[in-house]
Symmetry: C4
Subunit: 271 residues, 4 copies
């Protein structure tokens, strides 16, 4: 029983861990397999490639599915709480990356199963998680989480601006110039505000072009807002992590680099 437990522990270290040599090798092989299988799904959608390499891609798809199925079962087997793993974010992503191939036996092959297969690419983020431990992405995530609310308000503002400006453009240009409905005009307003500018819907009348110019300049101005929000938050996140160690007396952190006394209890912070 103890030996079985140690077998599970060492398997767990390899499959879930990132610190041992075996664990890193496993990670690298897995990432390679994921990227190749995603590439295979993508190439399979190109008619010319499918016509020529169809059977090989089909075989590869099954090979990867069986490989990922074995991996999924091993993860379930060695995890201390299999059910908790199964309902975790990555547990579900891993189940979804093998299910579509099995379903394609029963159901007629459908385009809609493709997107589920493509979700495999999310599995690569296991390694991003690894990177996170290295403290590289940490501050960026903190900064984005901190600015979440402000950015939500900002995008609410952008969307309602797009609704008003799009409706105005619908009135100015009208259906005869390609602005066939308000939703389409709102789509135009978003294309313009975000400075994407496809050019599939463009103003043709002088007043429409004047209003469009205003929308473009507005879009150019408001791109400054999310950028400055994230910059300020990232600066704060950096400031916090570059601070002094916590106070030896009251054990609280957050001291500035030039602080000599604990700002919470007034004790000397030492050299």
């Amino acid at each position: 029983m103890n030996s079985r437990s140690s077998w599970r522990t060492s398997l767990y270290t390899i499959i879930f861990g990132h610190t041992t040599r075996a664990g890193r090798t496993f990670d690298l092989i897995l990432i390679g397999a994921i990227l190749i299988s995603v590439a295979a799904v993508m190439l399979d959608s190109v008619t010319a490639i499918r016509d020529r390499w169809g059977p090989i891609l089909y075989a590869a798809e099954w090979a990867f599915t069986i490989l990922f199925t074995i991996e999924y079962l091993l993860r379930l087997a060695c995890h201390p709480k299999p059910w908790r793993y199964a309902i975790s974010f990555f547990g579900i992503v891993e189940l979804l990356s093998i299910l579509p191939t099995y379903l394609s036996i029963i159901l007629p092959s459908s385009r809609y199963l493709l997107i589920i297969r493509i979700l495999r690419v999310l599995r690569v983020y296991r390694i991003l998680k690894l990177v996170q431990y290295m403290g590289e992405a940490d501050r960026l995530i903190v900064a984005l989480r901190e600015s979440r609310r402000k950015i939500s308000i900002f995008f609410l503002a952008v969307v309602s601006l797009a609704v008003i400006l799009g409706s105005g453009m619908y009135m100015v240009e009208g259906p005869s110039n390609g602005f066939t409905s308000i939703p389409r005009s709102v789509y135009w307003a978003i294309v313009t505000l975000t400075t994407v500018g496809y050019g599939d819907v463009t103003p043709h009348t002088p007043w429409g072009q004047a209003l469009a110019s205003l929308v473009m300049i507005l879009g150019y101005a408001i791109i400054a807002v999310p950028t400055s929000i994230v910059t300020v938050e990232l600066t704060k996140a950096h400031g916090m992590s570059s601070q002094r160690p916590s106070c030896g007396s009251c054990n609280r952190a957050g001291h500035a680099p030039d602080a000599r006394y604990c700002k919470h209890c007034g004790e000397s912070l030492g050299p």
Copy 2:
């Protein structure tokens, strides 16, 4: 009389307030109604949907108009100064969001009334005001207000640059290549400077493409200006609101918002 006053007060708390449970529920229901009614107006402009669901959308429009009319009258009834409410920004927006439907009985239904109906979406900003009390959007608004002047000067510069570059392009490319007039060339210059790039007017001659390349690189460079202005103002807004008064003992400033003791001399900073 007193009971009527208390009835008005409690209604006021529900309709205008955001702190009580009833007030929040009212806010949420109102936002739902606004968003659905705006969506109805937008969908009504799509020919295919209008042909099929026209009567239902017409009924919905009247239902929402009556609902908003009742709400408007209640707001007038419970506000301590009804006239002041009526001429406030949101008072006018709320009146404008119900008027067009009543006007459509007298006047022939016009596309131009649509934009007024769409302005309803502005009413959602009542909740943004609520958010503002939560101090989230506050600093952003301060930063934008502070940088208002600089951004105005900046956009005056962008527009006059667009006029000069557009006229230059009109000379270089000429009417035969789509640059039919100076206003249209200025429109092209704005499309290019803001990096929108529809592609409805593009340079065809080598010299035109060289001038256009210069315009693009300029546009790429000057996008840095509003971004840096807002970033600096936002940093200042953060700095100001997070700064404590200077130490009473050593008179030095620069204390973090959570500091209780002076980081320079170790004295208590007071409450």
Copy 3:
């Protein structure tokens, strides 16, 4: 003689000054005249408007030219050093804004004289100069001047990147897909790197689209560079102007807000 001098002085105060009431009124009228005359030149280039309002626009052009000629002569008359004014930047711009109309009597009316007339718009910057005295645009100009060198190096890098990537695309896509020559491919690379994206030249082959994707992501990344340069310079420009007054002992400035002793000579800076 003295009275004539005082007449010149008071005229100088009105025409060149921005501080007196009369000077400001003159500024506002002049800006109005400049903007209307620029609008007239722009509208004159629209065929439909020219056909209908041609004679009126022609008359307006002559009226503004005579007005600006009188103003130019008055400026020469009241300036203490007329020749120095005549060869200054604004002196030349003002001469160029009246010359083309007179030249059009002798020479056949040419499209190429238009751009010179349009340069009138630069005269509006006299008021920007006024704004500069108000200290609003000052720091922005300092920040841009400070980052001038870094931005030049940056754009040298962008242009040489565009040359290499454009040539690569010329090889990958070739003349049959619209990349008819290297200069045109470099134009495409600039359109793509700056995220303008007209769509007049687009990749058609899979390898071309892959290379284009790389170019787009590169362009997306390098837009960060000028933005961060200007932000840092603007932060520095702000920091400098928010500093303490200069030392009373050695008269040198540049002290941080929390400095108690002059960093140059060690004297106390006072409260």
Copy 4:
């Protein structure tokens, strides 16, 4: 032997150095020659120019090749370790900038040799290296090197987002609307996320336009991330290089680069 060594030394100073007058003159002439030869290669690809000026461009190409060959041999001759120079980055670039012309005698003239000729433009970076010594570009390079990892993670995220969003769009719009395969849809997603927006592939169905709007707003938001990363790193790079060591008397840091006395205790900071 000693005279030959001194001849090599003085040649080395002229060819590789940037400090002497002769060295700077050589640099300027070389940059002129590089830019003209790159322009010649570019113009040679334009059919109209080739037809007319073909022989002159051919002669210029040979003249520059011989000039660069002499320069390359001189560099080899005067470098203290010729082999080390030959395998250095610029050594290889310089060899590659002369080889294609010689190869074109043996091999049939090929479009693929063009890109190698164009790489000559990289030689201009010798002068950028010079600029680097002037300390202008230094901090920018430090900031970009520091943010290398974060930007890599960021672009991994952008690419996997493009894969998922592109696949989703392939499902929503389908081959009949121009989204013929997943790779092409991923290309569309990158065009949209980076706000380039060619318009060669655009959504036609309402759901497709809704998803595209989401992609655009996402792209608009995430452009904030690289900008803020580089800004923060550049601020740090500035801070680090402008910081003095801490005071020897009170042991406190944070002194400005021009400080001669400690701003905290007034003691001299030393040379």
